[in-house]
C-alpha cells in the first residue's frame, strides 16, 4: 500500500522536519477534535496553506497528508451527523449504523497507522508515497 521512492532532490534537515510535521499535524488535531472530523481537515489545511510556498518536498507531503484527511472527512462527517441524529432525533441505533461506524473505524485506524509510519519515515529522509494518494499528489503537486 505504500511505495518507498527516492525524491529527485535530496531534502534538507529543515525540510524533513516540516514534511514530517504535516502528518503529525493531522494526528494532533485528531486527538484534539475527535468528535468533529472537520477539525482534522482544517488543521492540515492550515498547515498546507502555511507551506504552500515551501519547497517541493514539503508541499508534496503536505498535499498527501491533506488528501488523506479529505477522504476521511466525508466518511467521518457522515458518521458524526448520523450519531447526532440518533441522539437528538427519533432515529435509532441500527445494524447499519454499527456496521458503518466499524467500517469508518477500520479506515481511520489504517489511516492513523499509515500517518504515524509516514511521519517517522519522512523524518528519517525516506520519501513514502501512499497507494492511490501518492499518484493523486504527483498529479497535483508539480515542482
Amino acid at each position: 500500500m505504500m511505495v518507498l521512492n527516492k525524491f529527485f532532490v535530496e531534502p534538507t534537515e529543515h525540510e524533513l522536519e516540516k514534511a514530517s510535521n504535516s502528518y503529525l499535524m493531522s494526528l494532533i488535531a485528531l486527538m484534539a477534535g475527535l468528535p468533529f472530523p472537520i477539525i482534522n481537515l482544517l488543521a492540515t489545511l492550515i498547515f498546507y496553506v502555511g507551506n504552500r510556498k515551501g519547497t517541493h518536498f514539503v508541499r508534496w507531503h503536505c498535499t498527501q497528508a491533506l488528501l488523506s484527511q479529505l477522504s476521511l472527512l466525508f466518511v467521518n462527517s457522515y458518521g458524526f451527523w448520523w450519531t447526532i441524529s440518533i441522539i437528538f432525533t427519533p432515529e435509532k441505533i441500527s445494524n447499519h449504523y454499527i456496521a458503518y461506524m466499524l467500517t469508518a473505524f477500520v479506515f481511520n485506524v489504517f489511516e492513523m497507522i499509515a500517518t504515524i509510519y509516514t511521519a517517522i519515515q519522512t523524518r528519517k529522509g525516506k520519501h513514502i508515497e501512499w497507494w492511490c494518494y501518492g499518484n493523486i499528489t504527483n498529479a497535483i503537486c508539480k515542482p
Binding site: S71, F88, P90, K92, I93, N95, H96, A99, W131, I136
Partner: protein, 264 residues
C-alpha cells in the same frame, strides 16, 4: 490519470465491500444493544414511577381501569401495538395532565379525564402520549436534556436526589420540542384514524383548552407545556381531513359519564 481514477474506484469499492460485509453481521444482537437499552429504560421507568407515585394517590378502581383499558385496547389493536407493554396509571390530581415515563408508563390525571367531554377526546390525548412512547421520544428527551451518563448514574444509584427530582419534573411538566410534539400529534391522528375514532374530537379538546389557556389557569399543565394549542388543533384537522373516518363508538353510551363518576 486513468490509473488514479481506477485506484479511487477501487478504494470506494473496498469501502463499500467492507461496509456490505459488516452489514451481514447482526451487531444489535451481538452487542445486546436492545437488551441494554431496554434494561436501562425499565430501571428508569420503575424508579421515576415509584417516586412520583409516592407523592400522589393512584386510583385503583377496577371499573375505571377497565373503561380506560378498553380505549387503550382499541388504539393498540388497530395499530398493532402490544397492549401488555403499556403500564396504565390513573392518578388523583387537580392538574389537567397526562404524560409518559420511560418503559411505557402512561400516567393520566383524573382532572384530565374530567375535562374531556367524551371518550374520543380522551382517546386523542392517550394516542398522543402513546405516539411519544412508540416514537421513543421519552428516552430521547431525557438523553437530550439530562445526558446519557447522568441517566446511567441514576440507574446505578449514584445520582443525587436533586437530580432525580429534576428528571421527574422534566418528565411531568416540560414539553418535548416543537418538532417531536408535531410528530406525536400527526402519529396520534394516524392511530385514531386506524382505530376509526374521529381526530376532530382531539382537535376540539385542544381548541377548547386553548381558550381556557388564554384565560390563564395553573392547573392546565398538559396545555401549558404543549405550546400553540390552537395551531395544533388546526394541523390535526388538516391532517385528518386527508382520510375520511367513519367513526365508530368506543364505549357504550353512558360508560364515559360512569367513568367520571367513579373518579369523583
Amino acid at each position: 490519470m486513468k490509473k488514479i481514477f481506477l485506484q479511487i474506484s477501487l478504494l470506494i469499492i473496498l469501502f463499500f465491500s467492507l461496509l456490505g460485509a459488516l452489514n451481514q453481521v447482526d451487531w444489535m444482537r451481538l452487542f445486546r444493544v436492545e437488551k441494554i437499552t431496554k434494561s436501562t429504560e425499565k430501571k428508569l421507568g420503575d424508579m421515576f414511577w415509584n417516586l412520583y407515585h409516592s407523592s400522589k394517590d393512584e386510583i385503583n378502581n377496577d371499573s375505571a381501569h377497565r373503561i380506560i383499558d378498553s380505549l387503550l385496547m382499541r388504539i393498540c389493536t388497530s395499530n398493532k401495538i402490544e397492549r401488555n407493554t403499556i403500564k396504565l396509571h390513573i392518578v388523583q390530581s387537580t392538574e389537567i395532565n397526562a404524560f409518559a415515563l420511560p418503559d411505557q408508563h402512561l400516567v393520566i390525571n383524573t382532572a384530565l379525564i374530567e375535562s374531556c367531554q367524551n371518550e374520543m377526546e380522551l382517546c386523542g390525548v392517550v394516542a398522543h402520549e402513546m405516539a411519544h412512547m412508540q416514537l421513543d421520544h421519552v428516552m430521547k428527551k431525557l438523553i437530550k436534556e439530562i445526558g446519557l451518563s447522568v441517566l446511567i448514574s441514576i440507574t446505578t444509584g449514584n445520582a443525587g436526589a436533586e437530580k432525580i427530582n429534576e428528571v421527574i419534573k422534566l418528565l411531568t411538566s416540560s414539553a418535548y420540542d416543537r418538532k417531536l410534539e408535531k410528530q406525536a400529534d400527526i402519529t396520534a391522528v394516524d392511530y385514531l384514524e386506524n382505530s376509526t375514532i374521529n381526530p376532530a374530537e382531539f382537535a376540539n379538546f385542544l381548541a377548547r383548552l386553548g381558550q381556557k389557556e388564554t384565560l390563564g389557569s395553573q392547573y392546565l399543565s398538559w396545555i401549558n407545556t404543549h405550546p400553540d394549542s390552537k395551531e395544533r388543533a388546526k394541523y390535526i384537522l388538516a391532517h385528518s381531513n386527508k382520510i375520511a373516518v367513519k367513526a365508530k363508538p368506543v364505549l357504550a353510551a353512558d360508560s364515559f359519564s360512569q367513568l367520571k363518576k367513579l373518579l369523583q
